[in-house]
């Protein structure tokens, strides 16, 4: 089990911090927005009130055309540094008096504008009518800067920032404490799970994970562990039983097999003596009474002799086969290439004047019993030569290749082949796919091959198609 890349602790703390910071920032933003709006309203109110007072005071100055007095009234504004400019317009909208008394053009409009208030860039502007007893006398214009608002926003931002910072610290402390309570049982569970998977120790338990969902999880985990532990124990027991039983069976089988082999060996051995008698006496009979017998009698004697000889060959082969299972294997290095070459030379002599093309691939050196492996090659190559007999131009290939950690040797011929439906029968004792009068042989060669190869720890199998040749394979472990 890998160590997780991000821990649940960090995730928990991050989630809590993110939530609280976001909420705080949102609240702060709303607070500032609300404060700015209400403070703007307050500023407008204050300026309108001031404008109303000034307007009420300057009615007579407007009515009686006293710009000096109007100027003096407006000059009272100088106590307030926020006031940028003020102006009085007469009834016709013409500029009448200003504050400050001398003012660069453009600071106040040259003629009175619409009544009301508005925010201009960084200023707040108010225009109020000047009237006495309902008689309109002119307009008052006041322009105040928004320094106060800026200061207010700055202070608000500072307060919010401090609150957020403070809250982050508190939230961090809280979330660290909280995550410890939440994460600890999970971490305990994770450690137990890791130990279980690493050491395959199913006796561990994640006890005391609390009374929440994690506790339930830990409980379920513990239950599963108990279950696994139980099963593990049962499986081990079953395995042990099974092994014991297999051992017993194997021993029984081996004993039976040995018995059978001993039996077949002694049977074969014992059968040979009477058969020799038959053969010998048939020969004597042929010598002694041969000339006096007619043609038919002589033919019968010949048939008996042939049959006895054939039976002798069968018994000999059976003895060899039986010996193959019993003799001790002497494993040494065997050069397959040299061995094959040797066998081919022998077979070439038997082949007489047949046209046979031998094709030998690269063959390695293997570990095995040389005489046994020689028998394997003799059997396979002799079969190939035999079953390619009917072909005018016979071709026999021997190849070896490594596959999945074993060496696979194949012997391919272009002979009569066989019906692949019966390929499983090929390697049985006395199993023949062709009539013995067609191809001579006892039917024990491939059985020997299988026995030898399997004693070497390998496998045997074959491919074939009728009249298109056959390929015989055997594998040897490396």
């Amino acid at each position: 089990m890998k160590t997780p890349r991000t821990t649940i602790r960090r995730k928990l703390v991050t989630a809590m911090m993110l939530t609280s910071t976001t909420v705080l920032l949102l609240v702060g933003a709303v607070f500032i927005a609300h404060d700015v709006v209400s403070f703007r309203r307050l500023l407008v109110q204050a300026l309108v009130t001031r404008a109303n007072i000034l307007a009420a005071n300057s009615t007579a100055a407007l009515a009686f055309r006293n710009p000096e007095d109007a100027g003096q009234i407006l000059a009272a504004l100088k106590t307030d540094p926020r006031m940028i400019a003020a102006a009085l317009y007469d009834k016709e909208g013409r500029l009448f008096a200003t504050y400050p008394a001398s003012i660069p053009p453009g600071v106040v409009p040259p003629a009175s504008g619409p009544i009301g208030h508005r925010f201009e860039k960084s200023d707040l502007v108010v225009s109020q009518p000047v009237a006495e007893e309902g008689q309109s006398l002119g307009t008052l214009y006041l322009k105040s800067d928004l320094q106060e608002l800026d200061d207010r926003v700055r202070v608000d931002a500072m307060v919010v920032l401090l609150a957020v910072l403070g809250s982050i610290v508190v939230a961090f402390a809280f979330s660290t404490w909280l995550q410890r309570r939440i994460a600890k049982p999970i971490l305990t569970l994770a450690i137990v799970a890791r130990n279980v998977s690493e050491h395959k120790d199913y006796s561990l338990r994640a006890k005391g994970a609390g009374d929440d969902e994690v506790g339930v999880l830990a409980g379920a985990f513990d239950e599963m562990l108990s279950e696994i532990q139980q099963r593990d124990r049962e499986i081990r027991q079953l395995n042990a039983d099974l092994e014991r039983r297999v051992d017993a069976r194997t021993a029984e089988l081996e004993a039976a097999n040995k018995e059978l082999e001993a039996f077949s060996y002694s049977v074969s051995h014992d059968l040979r003596a009477p058969l020799r008698h038959i053969d010998g006496f048939v020969e004597l009979l042929a010598k002694h009474a041969g000339p006096s017998l007619d043609e038919k009698g002589r033919r019968h004697l010949a048939t008996i002799s042939t049959a006895a000889k054939r039976m002798g060959a069968l018994i000999d082969d059976l003895l060899v086969f039986s010996r193959m299972g019993r003799t001790e294997m002497r494993k040494t290095s065997v050069d397959l290439a040299a061995l094959t070459q040797e066998v081919v030379q022998e077979l070439k002599a038997d082949a007489g004047n047949r046209s046979v093309e031998w094709k030998l691939g690269t063959l390695p050196t293997v570990q095995g019993d040389p005489s046994m492996l020689r028998l394997v090659l003799v059997n396979l190559l002799a079969n190939a030569l035999k079953y390619s007999g009917p072909k005018k131009a016979a071709r026999i290939e021997v190849e070896a290749q490594s596959q999945n950690g074993e060496l696979i040797v194949s012997v391919r011929d272009n002979g009569v082949g066989f019906d692949p439906t019966y390929s499983h029968k090929l390697f049985g004792v006395f199993q023949r796919l062709h009539a013995s009068d067609e191809f001579e042989g006892t039917g024990i060669g491939l059985a020997n091959v299988r026995r030898i190869v399997s004693r070497h720890g390998g496998r045997t199998w074959a491919d074939g198609t009728i009249n298109e040749g056959a390929t015989f394979y055997f594998s040897l472990p490396k």
Binding site: T59, A60, A63, R65, N66, D69, F96, E132, E133, Q135
Partner: protein, 187 residues
């Protein structure tokens, strides 16, 4: 025509004044009496007449001119369609002080200069705001006098006379005026 000569002289003076000082107010004193007419109208807003001076709503608020009318059309134009405290404004011209009956503001023309004391005595204790532009008009118990001071049209107010007439003059107006009369020594 001495009046005309003086008018022309004042006009010339004012024109010079305008050209010499393009005041902040930017008011063009096109005509001295236009300004005075406007002031006369505004007195209606800054002076309080006693209860009973205008008993009925239908009674017009009357601005009277005693003697020769120096305003021409300007006063009529200013007053046209205006009202004071719900009373329609009306301009009336009187030749003789005995004709003056219902009147709230009365301008005593310079043409009456010689009879000024008699006129003022006649109007004494009546709730009429007497206005004039003759020399020391307010000092001679007129209530509001037009004064040219510092090359500007200013007001002189005789508070004692106003009190005697039962009129209350707004402090805002007083702020624009010189207070003259028995309580103080004036020029």
């Amino acid at each position: 025509m001495p009046v005309l000569v003086r008018r022309i002289a004042i006009l010339a003076l004012l024109l010079i004044l305008i050209q010499a000082r393009p005041s902040v107010a930017g008011t063009k004193l096109t005509h001295e009496y236009d300004l005075k007419a406007a002031f006369m109208f505004h007195f209606a807003q800054f002076v309080e007449w006693p209860q009973g001076a205008l008993p009925e709503k239908t009674t017009p608020f009357t601005i009277g001119i005693l003697g020769e009318d120096p305003f021409g059309k300007s006063l009529d134009e200013i007053v046209a369609n205006e009202a004071v405290d719900g009373h329609k404004l009306l301009v009336r011209r009187f030749q003789n002080v005995n004709q003056v009956d219902s009147c709230q503001i009365l301008f005593i023309s310079p043409s009456e200069k010689s009879r000024m004391d008699q006129i003022l005595t006649h109007l004494n204790r009546r709730s009429i705001l007497t206005v004039g532009d003759t020399k020391d008009f307010a000092l001679r118990s007129g209530i509001i006098g037009f004064v040219i001071s510092d090359k500007r049209l200013r007001l002189a107010v005789n508070l004692a006379a106003a009190n005697a007439a039962g009129l209350t003059i707004s402090s805002k107006l007083l702020r624009q005026s010189q207070i003259v009369g028995p309580a103080r020594v004036q020029e």
